[in-house]
């Protein structure tokens, strides 16, 4: 049966999304076909166009429709600062917070030894090229504070050890508004080991 084949293909395609199993895929497929055919058409068009037009920014490696993304072409950013993040979502979060005014580099993932995701699967060569092409003075390693994120940061800082740039990492510790009583012990331990000077310099 031809129709059955098309539905099966749709289900299989939907299952490629993270966290979507056979049941969810079936529900999504039936929903689109039964209740929202217009939406299904829009989704198909949007996907086709995105796949055809979206590439990686040649400077920061984030997704971009142009060779250079809006951040990299803005001209208002601090060229001496480079912030290395794991994913486009991390970049978006930092941008929304307005916490950083330099340039970015998106690795597109982290080292994952058990899954065999190594440096060649990340934008590591891209990072080294950016370091040699632009007048960067400080690299901020803003990888996640997970074990894998830390492994990635360790590896990158070793790799850049011979270059002249200053390398820093995000501070770890107590969140704003955090009450110590409810803090998990790892965060508390990190906060203690990363404590900062608090003496006021008189004179």
């Amino acid at each position: 049966m031809k129709e059955g084949h098309a539905i099966e293909q749709l289900r299989r395609a939907l299952r490629r999304l993270p966290g979507v199993g056979p049941k969810t895929a079936q529900r999504m497929a039936f929903y689109l076909l039964e209740r929202d055919r217009d939406g299904a058409g829009q989704l198909a068009e949007a996907l086709t166009e995105a796949v055809a037009t979206i590439k990686h920014c040649t400077r920061c490696n984030n997704f971009s429709e142009e060779n250079l993304c809006p951040i990299c072409t803005s001209g208002k950013r601090d060229e001496s600062l480079l912030c290395v993040v794991e994913t486009p979502a991390d970049l978006a979060t930092i941008e929304q917070a307005g916490a950083f005014s330099g340039y970015y580099l998106v690795l597109m993932g982290h080292l994952s030894p058990l899954d065999g995701i190594g440096p060649d699967d990340l934008a590591v060569q891209h990072l080294l090229k950016v370091l040699s092409d632009y007048p960067i003075q400080e690299v901020i390693l803003a990888t996640n504070l997970t074990v894998e994120g830390e492994a990635t940061a360790d590896y990158l800082s070793d790799l850049m050890a011979l270059s002249k740039v200053q390398i820093s990492r995000l501070a770890r510790g107590v969140p704003v508004g955090g009450e110590l009583e409810y803090m998990d012990s790892n965060t508390l331990n990190q906060a203690f080991s990363d404590r900062r000077a608090a003496r006021v310099e008189l004179a």
Partner: protein, 254 residues
């Protein structure tokens, strides 16, 4: 007085790996003290306010509680019992390697109670930047023993004589060490002193280190049945010059 069945009791555990499961949960593989390797869903673990946040991490000594009859359990509690074992750089890669060995060598839901303290001790040693190779080889020895493929380190399997430190043996993965009288070319050539060093857990010399790496690698490969060890390959990629731990992937025949 009622005693709860074991599955309702807290037990010590380590997280081996985790992956996202639905929008808010995690699918976790745990190495537990009493139940061995288990897979469980940690519901809501990815939510911002989840009590699992900052807790369900590799190398964090945990006390866990889980329920369920099927293959995939439901985690109902996880708390740290002491601070996380901090590993860095090559020692961290060794930690991942131990996790991968457990995931690929142990059967799910078989208890490995004597291996559990060996694992914890290995992590503690790695966090003190121990001689990583010594730690790994000893862990591999106990792991092989626990899955029923224990190394033969005390006797020549062809003559029954005790291992002589000055003799060169040919170690056949399915048999053990036999005196090397050159009629065969398979297995691993190894000096008696290397077999004794691993058996007695004595300090390794450079040659012993090389020979034992080759021995364990060959025996593990026999039992991994073609499953590759990703963390070993990555170690070689990340630390190409470093001849500690499980480097030199070019010699690996997977």
């Amino acid at each position: 007085m009622t005693t709860f069945p074991r599955r309702f009791q807290n037990q010590s555990a380590f997280l081996l790996q985790h992956r996202p499961y639905s929008e808010t949960s995690l699918l976790v593989d745990l190495f537990t003290e009493k139940s061995g390797r288990i897979t469980a869903i940690a519901k809501g673990a990815r939510r911002l306010k989840s009590s699992y946040r900052g807790v369900l991490l590799p190398f964090q000594p945990l006390s866990v509680l889980f329920t369920g009859k099927g293959d995939v359990k439901t985690l109902t509690g996880a708390e740290p019992v002491r601070s996380r074992i901090i590993l860095s750089r090559d020692h961290l890669m060794c930690g991942f390697y131990l996790n991968e060995l457990i995931l690929k060598m142990l059967y799910r839901y078989d208890p490995y109670e004597t291996l559990y303290p060996v694992y914890e001790r290995a992590l503690d040693e790695l966090s003190r930047k121990s001689d990583a190779e010594f730690t790994l080889r000893r862990f591999e020895k106990y792991l092989l023993e626990q899955v029923g493929y224990g190394l033969h380190l005390q006797r020549d399997m062809s003559t029954g004589l005790p291992i002589d430190e000055h003799v060169v043996y040919r170690y056949l993965p399915e048999v053990g060490p036999i005196v090397n009288n050159s009629s065969r070319s398979d297995g691993v050539l190894i000096h008696g002193d290397a077999l004794i060093a691993l058996d007695q857990e004595e300090v390794f010399t450079e040659r012993v280190r090389r020979e034992l790496k080759q021995l364990n690698r060959t025996v593990l490969a026999t039992h991994l049945q073609g499953k590759p060890l990703n963390s070993r390959r990555m170690f070689a990629q990340l630390y190409p010059g470093k001849d500690s731990a499980e480097t030199q992937a070019k010699h690996v025949e997977f």
